[in-house]
C-alpha cells in the first residue's frame, strides 16, 4: 500500500539523516531496495541547495524600510480617524450593506440606490450650507504639509461618498491619483521630496481604480487601465528626474515608490494583454450589475482586494492578493466563501491532526494535497492571505505540469486515495 511505502521512505530518510549509510538502510528494508535507493540519492542531491551559500544581506536598510512603512501606516490610521468626512463614508457603506443584506432579490439594487441617495442628500446639504465652503475652495490647490490640505482630502472623500456609481468612483480615484502626482511634482519643484503618506495615497487610488475597473465593461475597463498606466508613467518619469545625491531616507522612499509603481504597471500591462485574468485578479467583491467573470482556475491570479495601501520600500513584489485558497466546495473549504483568502476557515475540526487519527472529512479523505481552508490560514485564524497569484485552490494536482501531471505519475496523482495519503 502506498501509505506503507510513504512510511517506509520516511523511516529510511530518518536513518539517512542520522548518518546511516545507504547499504545499511537498504538492508533494513529489503523489499523496497531499488526504488528506495533512488529516492535516498535524490535526497542527497538536495544537499546541493543546503550547501549553497546564501549571499548575505545588509539587514539594516531593509529593516529600516519595513519599520518606516509601519510608521506610515500608524500615521495613516490616525489621519483616517481625524478626517471629518471619514464617518460619512463609513455611514454610506454601512447603510448600503445593511439594506442589501436585509432586502433580497431584484429589490436589493433599488434599495441600495435609495440608501445611497439619502446619504448623498445629507452630504450635499452639509457642503452647500456649511461654513467650510470657503475653506474648500482655498484647499483645492494646497500641498501636503499645508494646514488646509486635510480639507482637500476630506472633500475628495466626500465626492467619493456622494458618487454611488462604481465607474464614477473609478474615474475619481484615477483623477485623485493624477492629483497626487501633480502635488508631488510641485513639492519636488520646490526642492522637497514626496512624503510616504502621499505615496501611499497614490497607491491606494491606483489600486482602487483598478479594482473598480475590473467591474466595468471591457471598453471602460481598458480606458481606466490605460489612464492608470499614464498616471504611473508620469510619476515614474518624475522620479527618474531625481538625481543621485538625495539623502538616504529620500532615496529609500523613492526606491519603494518605484518598486510599487513598477508592480502596478506590470499588472496593468498583463491585464491589457489578458483582460480575463485581470478581472479575476482584481474583480473581487463585484456588484451584481458587473459583467460576468471567468471562473478562477487553479494557477490563475487571485482576486486582489482593493484595500492594499502599502508600499514596499525595497521594490518587493506585491499584490499577491488573497492567498492560496480552497474555494467554495473545496475540501476543507468554507462553503460560504466566495472570495478565496478572505473568509474565515471552515472550523476547528480541521485543526492539526496527528498520526493515528481516523481519516477525517474531506481534507484527509481523497485529496491529501487539499488546503485546510480558504486562504490557507490555520484553521480558526483569519485568512488574510499569504497570497499567491497562482491561486492554488486546495493545491490542484499537476498545476506545475511536467511529469507531475494531474493524473498521476504517482499512480493516482497527488490527490488520489483517501485517508492520510493512501492511494
Amino acid at each position: 500500500m502506498k501509505q506503507d511505502m510513504a512510511e517506509t521512505v520516511d523511516a529510511a530518510l530518518a536513518r539517512q539523516a542520522a548518518g546511516e549509510g545507504l547499504p545499511q538502510i537498504l538492508e533494513a528494508f529489503p523489499d523496497e531496495g531499488g526504488s528506495l535507493a533512488a529516492l535516498l540519492r535524490v535526497r542527497e542531491q538536495l544537499a546541493l541547495l543546503v550547501e549553497e551559500s546564501v549571499p548575505e544581506l545588509d539587514p539594516a536598510a531593509d529593516r529600516a524600510a519595513f519599520l518606516k512603512v509601519a510608521a506610515a501606516r500608524r500615521r495613516q490610521r490616525s489621519a483616517r480617524k481625524a478626517v471629518s468626512f471619514g464617518p460619512l463614508l463609513r455611514l454610506k457603506e454601512w447603510m448600503v450593506k445593511e439594506r442589501a443584506r436585509l432586502v433580497t432579490g431584484h429589490h436589493a439594487l433599488k434599495e441600495r440606490k435609495m440608501s445611497a441617495f439619502l446619504v448623498k442628500a445629507a452630504l450635499a446639504l452639509i457642503l452647500a450650507v456649511g461654513s467650510i465652503g470657503g475653506t474648500v475652495a482655498v484647499s483645492a490647490d494646497s500641498l501636503p504639509g499645508s494646514p488646509v490640505y486635510p480639507v482637500k482630502l476630506a472633500v475628495e472623500d466626500a465626492r467619493l461618498a456622494l458618487n454611488a456609481d462604481p465607474a464614477g468612483d473609478a474615474d475619481l480615484h484615477l483623477a485623485y491619483a493624477q492629483e497626487r502626482v501633480q502635488e508631488m511634482e510641485r513639492v519636488m519643484e520646490g526642492g522637497g521630496a514626496p512624503d510616504q503618506a502621499s505615496l501611499n495615497r497614490l497607491q491606494l487610488h491606483l489600486e482602487e481604480a483598478l479594482h473598480l475597473a475590473a467591474q466595468q465593461p471591457d471598453e471602460k475597463m481598458k480606458q481606466l487601465m490605460v489612464g492608470a498606466q499614464h498616471v504611473i508613467q508620469t510619476q515614474e518619469a518624475l522620479m527618474a528626474q531625481r538625481g543621485e545625491g538625495e539623502g538616504a531616507a529620500v532615496a529609500l522612499q523613492l526606491r519603494a515608490a518605484q518598486g510599487m509603481l513598477h508592480r502596478v504597471r506590470q499588472q496593468i500591462e498583463e491585464g491589457l494583454q489578458d483582460p480575463n485574468a485581470f478581472r479575476s485578479r482584481y474583480g473581487a467583491g463585484r456588484p451584481e450589475a458587473a459583467p460576468p467573470q471567468p471562473d478562477v482556475e487553479p494557477g490563475a491570479g487571485p482576486p486582489i482586494t482593493h484595500t492594499q495601501p502599502i508600499t514596499s520600500p525595497q521594490g518587493a513584489p506585491d499584490g499577491y492578493g488573497p492567498g492560496p485558497g480552497s474555494g467554495p466546495g473545496e475540501p476543507g473549504g468554507n462553503p460560504d466563501c466566495v472570495v478565496p483568502g478572505e473568509c474565515e476557515p471552515a472550523g476547528e475540526q480541521y485543526q492539526h491532526r496527528h498520526e493515528g487519527d481516523p481519516p477525517g472529512p474531506p481534507e484527509d479523505a481523497g485529496h491529501e494535497d487539499a488546503g485546510a481552508g480558504p486562504g490557507s490560514g490555520p484553521a480558526g485564524e483569519q485568512n488574510d492571505v499569504p497570497g499567491s497569484g497562482d491561486h492554488h485552490h486546495g493545491d490542484v494536482n499537476g498545476q506545475n505540469g511536467g511529469d507531475n501531471g494531474a493524473s498521476g505519475s504517482n499512480g493516482g496523482g497527488d490527490g488520489g486515495g483517501g485517508g492520510n495519503g493512501g492511494h
Binding site: Q3, F66, Q308, G401
Partner: protein, 185 residues
C-alpha cells in the same frame, strides 16, 4: 510555547507597535530570506520577495486580518506563494543565468560553473513539483524542519506530509533523470 508567544506578540503587532514589529522582523526575516533564496537562487529577487512578504504582513495586520497565532506558518506560506507568483511571471524563462558572483576565483572556475549548473537544475526540478510537494521538500530537507513542523505550516496531518514527501522525491527523481543532472557534491 511558541504559539502563546506568537499570539501575545501578534496582538501588539496589530497595533503596529514598532518594538514588537522590529522583534518579529529580526526573528523571521533571515529565515524567510534564506527560504526564498534557496527557492529562487537570486539574492536581489529573494530580497525583494522577502520584503514583499513582510509588507503584506503589515498590510494584513493593519487591515485587521492575518495570523492570530501561527506566525511562522503564515510567513512561510506567504513566502511560498510569493515564490510561486514570481515563477508564474517568469514562466517563459527557461534557462537560469550563470551567476558570476559565485565565480570568486578561489576555486576552479570550471568546477564552480559545473556546480552552479547542478544547483540550478535541482532548483528547476523542484519547480516542476506541485506547490505542496515543493513546500514539503524545501521545508523538510533544506530548512531542516520535522514532519510535525511541516504539517503545522501546511495545515496537514503528518501522514499527508509523508505522502507528499514520498511523491515529491519520486517526482524530483524523474525530473532530475530527465535533465541529466550530474551531482558533484
Amino acid at each position: 510555547m511558541r504559539m502563546d508567544k506568537d499570539a501575545a506578540r501578534l496582538q501588539q503587532a496589530r497595533a503596529l507597535d514598532e518594538e514588537v514589529l522590529a522583534a518579529i522582523y529580526d526573528e523571521y526575516h533571515p529565515l524567510i530570506y534564506r527560504y526564498i533564496y534557496r527557492r529562487v537562487g537570486e539574492s536581489e529577487t529573494a530580497r525583494d520577495l522577502s520584503a514583499g512578504v513582510f509588507h503584506r504582513f503589515l498590510q494584513a495586520l493593519d487591515d485587521g486580518r492575518g495570523p492570530e497565532r501561527h506566525l511562522r506558518a503564515w510567513l512561510y506560506r506567504s513566502a511560498h506563494n510569493a515564490v510561486v507568483d514570481h515563477y508564474r511571471r517568469r514562466q517563459h524563462r527557461r534557462h537560469l543565468p550563470l551567476r558570476e558572483d559565485l565565480l570568486d576565483g578561489r576555486e576552479n572556475p570550471a568546477r564552480q560553473a559545473e556546480q552552479q549548473i547542478a544547483v540550478d537544475q535541482v532548483r528547476r526540478a523542484l519547480r516542476a513539483l506541485t506547490p505542496d510537494q515543493q513546500q514539503v521538500i524545501v521545508l523538510k530537507f533544506i530548512e531542516g524542519l520535522s514532519n510535525k513542523e511541516v504539517a503545522a505550516i501546511l495545515e496537514k496531518t503528518e501522514g499527508a506530509v509523508k505522502s507528499l514527501q514520498h511523491r515529491g522525491l519520486a517526482a524530483l527523481q524523474r525530473q532530475l533523470e530527465a535533465g541529466e543532472v550530474r551531482v558533484t557534491v
